[in-house]
């Protein structure tokens, strides 16, 4: 049965239902329930290995769930209905391809395509995945590069750019797909300290001027406070505490959260 795009306008953008993810014997996520509203900005914090990045990777289908269900806009995403009874079975590549287009991701290590120029990196997916015209895609790509402050680097090779510049190209590349949900996976962790600000400023801009749904994993608490509606504190695959950004950062109730915030400040 071909997957239809039946978006439920009332449903949350992302919903995890009792999601478990194991790597061998190691349980990374343990029966996790999670909801992210449309247009909501959520930041995941917690010690490394607590499962934050795995949540983003599950949403991007870079990993598959061991158990449980992931829904996007109310539609099963990790699974698809099969047969008359609509029994849910693990999604195949065709099913994933449909919903995946609503989601974009920016990686810790940028992952730009080294064999393409900056502009080609941004144009590639709109032309070959969305089927946009080349001229139109180039025009939009130049606008996006202007937005991230790299309008003059369009013809450069990614390897010629600084880490901060590469990461801004990666942001433009993700935005070129007009994602409704943007995943930011420790986007400043690989950067030299003096390059962090230029990337975070671009992201603050995007948060302010669009209604995109944001899921971030970051250790930059100042940035988390500025952009997020809600912060989730993770430890060992579970949410130990969640709340509005200011509240959770100012007066954490859980001892784990206090200890963690103490260690990153």
């Amino acid at each position: 049965m071909p997957t239809e795009d039946r978006k439920d306008p009332a449903a949350p953008a992302v919903r995890f239902e009792r999601v478990t993810k194991r790597f061998g014997d190691h349980t990374v996520l343990d029966g996790l329930d999670l909801e992210v509203g449309r247009g909501e900005r959520v930041t995941l914090i917690g010690p490394s290995g607590s499962g934050k990045t795995t949540i983003l990777r599950l949403l991007m289908t870079l990993e598959r769930v061991t158990d449980g269900l992931v829904l996007v806009d109310g539609q099963p995403y990790s699974h698809m209905p099969r047969g008359a009874g609509g029994k849910l079975v693990p999604a195949d590549e065709r099913h994933l391809a449909v919903l995946r287009r609503r989601i974009g991701m920016v990686f810790q290590q940028f992952n730009l395509f080294p064999h393409m120029s900056v502009l080609e990196n941004v144009v590639e997916a709109p032309v070959h995945v969305l089927g946009e015209g080349r001229e139109e895609a180039r025009r939009r790509a130049r606008d996006l590069l202007d937005l991230v402050g790299l309008g003059d680097k369009a013809e450069a090779r990614p390897t010629r750019l600084s880490g901060g510049q590469q990461q801004r190209v990666a942001i433009a590349r993700a935005l070129a797909m007009r994602p409704e949900i943007l995943l930011l996976d420790e986007v400043t962790s690989a950067l030299d300290p003096e390059l962090v600000a230029e990337v975070l400023d671009v992201l603050r801009d995007i948060a302010r001027n669009t209604d995109i749904t944001l899921l971030c994993v970051t250790h930059e608490m100042g940035f988390a406070r500025d952009v997020s509606d809600r912060i989730l504190m993770f430890d060992r695959g579970r949410i130990v505490e969640s709340g509005p950004a200011g509240e959770l950062l100012e007066s954490p109730t859980h001892a784990r959260t206090r200890a963690f915030l103490g260690s990153v400040r």
Partner: protein, 224 residues
């Protein structure tokens, strides 16, 4: 001995013919090998087990049985089951099959060596498997293939004197004729080795240039 230069001059047209035959076998054999390398290398990464298994079997078979046995089998044994190929066709086929099997491992290895993160970036941009392979992985894998392909190409070139063993009038055959006519054994073989050395160096330089271009396209300076 004294008339070697004169004999050599007289033999030049035949040597040129032989050189052409050797070049023909090298180019056609390499072209067939390249084609097979891609087909077998990509198939051996297929998600479908029968495709993958068949590709692995073919690769292991042609790597595991010696090139000489393959050539002689095509030349001597195949006619006994009713297929007679031209000697040159036997040689091109044997070279193509044998080096294609080695090349398949190069293709497979190069694809595996492209960082997984590049594939993930492709997935995050909504690209399907075929598009990712064509636009993201292969262009980067190509740069990694050039150096091992260079080695295989020189090996293939160095295997072409085998043609003379299955009656193809190649360079080795013609120079052997010259040797018989003049008795100048050392001079003849030195000439033959020198010509092969020149061809090997030429091919290496060509492939080095290719590698520099391929690496420059990835934004890596200089190349090897």
């Amino acid at each position: 001995m004294a008339d070697f230069p004169a004999e050599l001059r007289r033999a030049l047209p035949r040597l040129a013919e032989g050189l052409l035959v050797t070049a023909e076998a090298t180019v056609l054999g390499a072209a067939l090998a390249l084609l097979l390398a891609y087909v077998l290398g990509l198939s051996s990464r297929s998600a479908r087990l029968p495709v993958r298994g068949a590709a692995r079997f073919v690769v292991e078979f042609f790597r595991g049985t010696s090139l000489y046995v393959q050539l002689f089998w095509l030349f001597f044994a195949l006619p006994m089951v009713g297929f007679r190929l031209e000697p040159l066709a036997c040689a091109v086929l044997a070279l193509g099959l044998n080096y294609g099997a080695y090349g398949a491992e190069v293709v497979r290895g190069a694809i595996t060596a492209v960082p997984r993160a590049q594939t993930e970036a492709g997935i995050a941009l909504g690209m399907g498997p075929a598009l990712r392979l064509r636009r993201v992985v292969l262009p980067q894998a190509h740069a990694l293939m050039v150096a091992p392909f260079k080695n295989l190409l020189v090996q293939l070139l160095k295997a072409t004197p085998l043609l003379s063993l299955v009656t193809v009038p190649d360079l080795t055959f013609q120079i052997d004729q010259l040797r018989s006519a003049t008795g100048a054994t050392a001079a003849s073989y030195l000439l033959l080795l020198g010509l092969y050395f020149a061809m090997a160096v030429g091919l290496s330089l060509l492939m080095n240039a290719l590698e520099r271009v391929a690496k420059a396209r990835l934004g890596q300076e200089g190349g090897a």
